[in-house]
């Protein structure tokens, strides 16, 4: 097990040294500032009107969900961009040879690297999530209904993206891996929106298409479940935001994402074990 920790530590150090992480944190900071200003302006506008505090709270918590959606999006993109090179690049350049000839099974190398990136992603999500929630609470006094559940689901979505990046990293070059994983993220996004739209249009075909897309990459359905957990029931039903409770992924969908993660991880480990380096 010490080999896994050694690999995890060096991977974590590697990711922390990358400019990408700091740029992502900077981007998160800029987005947070924009969010804070927008929310503040909204609060000022509401103060000039005679609006019930209850309704104001609903609208402002809807804005918080938009802020958290931005966090989620940046975290997923960071996860993919930071990790696409770790296996694909090291296999391509031969850097992995010096590690893979050490007394470690290949699954241990995989586990160490995965753990290192997972820690980075989880910390990034926690920081940006609570920063957004903190700003929203300070400016408008709003809080997500189930903040912890929401954050864990966002982390889960990032871990799904990470597992796909690792899986295809055992197959493809860095560039191809990036294209495939971002493409799958696009499929997930499309699936989520199709399911959402189908709630309005009542089209069975669109529902089916959305479900199939979400089965191919279930990340976006995790976000929509997170949004459901975090927003107030009224804000969801007001159709104020695109995350209104039109099509809520069930706990079965979350369980499916867990199963999906296990299958992707097992396939990645199996392929890394079998392939020539």
């Amino acid at each position: 097990m010490s080999g896994i920790w050694t690999i995890a530590r060096v991977t974590l150090r590697e990711s922390a040294r990358r400019k990408l992480l700091w740029m992502a944190l900077l981007a998160g900071g800029v987005l947070l500032a924009i969010f804070a200003i927008a929310l503040h302006l909204q609060v000022l506008q509401f103060q000039g009107r005679s609006m019930s505090p209850f309704l104001r709270y609903q609208v402002e918590s809807g804005m918080l969900i938009i802020g958290l959606y931005t966090c989620d999006l940046v975290a997923v993109v960071l996860t993919i961009l930071a990790s696409i090179d770790t296996l694909a690049g090291e296999i391509g350049s031969g850097t992995i040879h010096a590690i893979a000839t050490k007394p470690l099974a290949r699954w241990q190398i995989f586990a160490g690297k995965f753990l290192g990136f997972a820690v980075m992603v989880v910390v990034y999500v926690a920081v940006t999530f609570w920063a957004t929630v903190g700003v929203a609470h300070a400016v408008a006094g709003v809080m997500p209904v189930h903040a912890l559940r929401g954050m864990l689901l966002i982390m889960f979505e990032c871990i799904i993206a990470l597992s796909l990046s690792f899986l295809f990293g055992t197959w493809f070059t860095t560039l191809t891996n990036g294209v495939v994983v971002l493409g799958l993220q696009g499929v997930a996004l499309m699936g989520g929106w199709l399911e959402q739209v189908s709630g309005f249009s009542q089209s069975a075909h669109i529902v089916t298409l959305g479900v199939i897309s979400s089965l191919i990459q279930p990340g976006e359905s995790l976000w929509r479940r997170a949004a459901y957990e975090m927003q107030t029931p009224l804000a969801g039903s007001l159709r104020f935001s695109p995350f209104a409770n039109v099509s809520i992924p069930s706990m079965t969908a979350v369980a499916y994402a867990g199963f999906y993660l296990c299958v992707v991880m097992a396939a990645a480990v199996y392929h890394l074990h079998r392939r020539d380096l």
């Binding site: 690999i7 350049s93 850097t95 010096a98 000839t101 007394p103 470690l104 079998r274 020539d276 380096l277």
Partner: protein, 308 residues
Amino acid sequence: MPSSAHAVIETRELRKVFGSQVAVRGLSLTVPRGEIFGFLGPNGAGKSTSVKMLLGLVRPTGGHALVLGSPPEDPQVRRHVGFLPEDFRFYDWLSARELLELHGRLCGMSASRLRQRIPEILELVGLTPHRDRRLRGFSKGMLQRIGLAQAIIHEPQVVFLDEPTSGLDPMGRRTVRDILRAERERGATVFLNSHFLSEVEVTCDRVAFIKHGEVVAAHELGPETANDVRVSVRARSLGEEVVSGLGRWARDVRPTAEGLSLAVPSEEVLPDVVRHLVAAGADIYGLARQKTSLEELFVDIMGEDPGL
């Protein structure tokens, strides 16, 4: 050939096919403990693929390989194996000391052992003044040195080195040579893949020549070599009948600018050769044993360069 009971590396009919391309056709070789073994062949002969199979990086299509008596993919075997890949590269943000610490830890070395071993090994490869410098500032030669250091930090029983002197200046090459000899003294077996035949010649105990993915010849290097003795004769007045008369003792007689070059089965026949030449009226100015260089042997075995 050495007895397989003492074999550290043993392959039988090892084969690797990539699609329709046969990279290694049927490699059979045995390397005993404590030997520096040279693995030679032209580009594309299958050397790197063979080494990768011996390290468990590439899966054989057929045949089998044993390193220290176990399949090379067994992580426990790799505890006793060191490897310097060709064109060694690693995370360039690590310092030399950090890189050795990482590799030592992966080999299962304790922190206290590493505290003692890292300064030793840095001194050995001549990088002590650069111990805290990041690898991104290292020259190719310095990377080779630190790569060699990570390969032997845990004092492995077998060391695989792929072009260890590539990018090194003459002083660096001498350092590597000394390290390889020290490894042999320690009892380690060294499997050396190199294009520097002059280096191989002075370092290795034995070489195998690989061509089209199979061993086509093996050659002992060193004083105990029992091959023909080649002799160069500085002489004049060498008529045709003089040369043809040498056939009783010598074979492969070649005229040279200064006289003759001939191969005899042993030094014992040289007095007879000289007597024959003198009796036939040749003027002899000198006679010297001529060592066949490994490069000549390589070209003899592999044939001329077919081009790319």
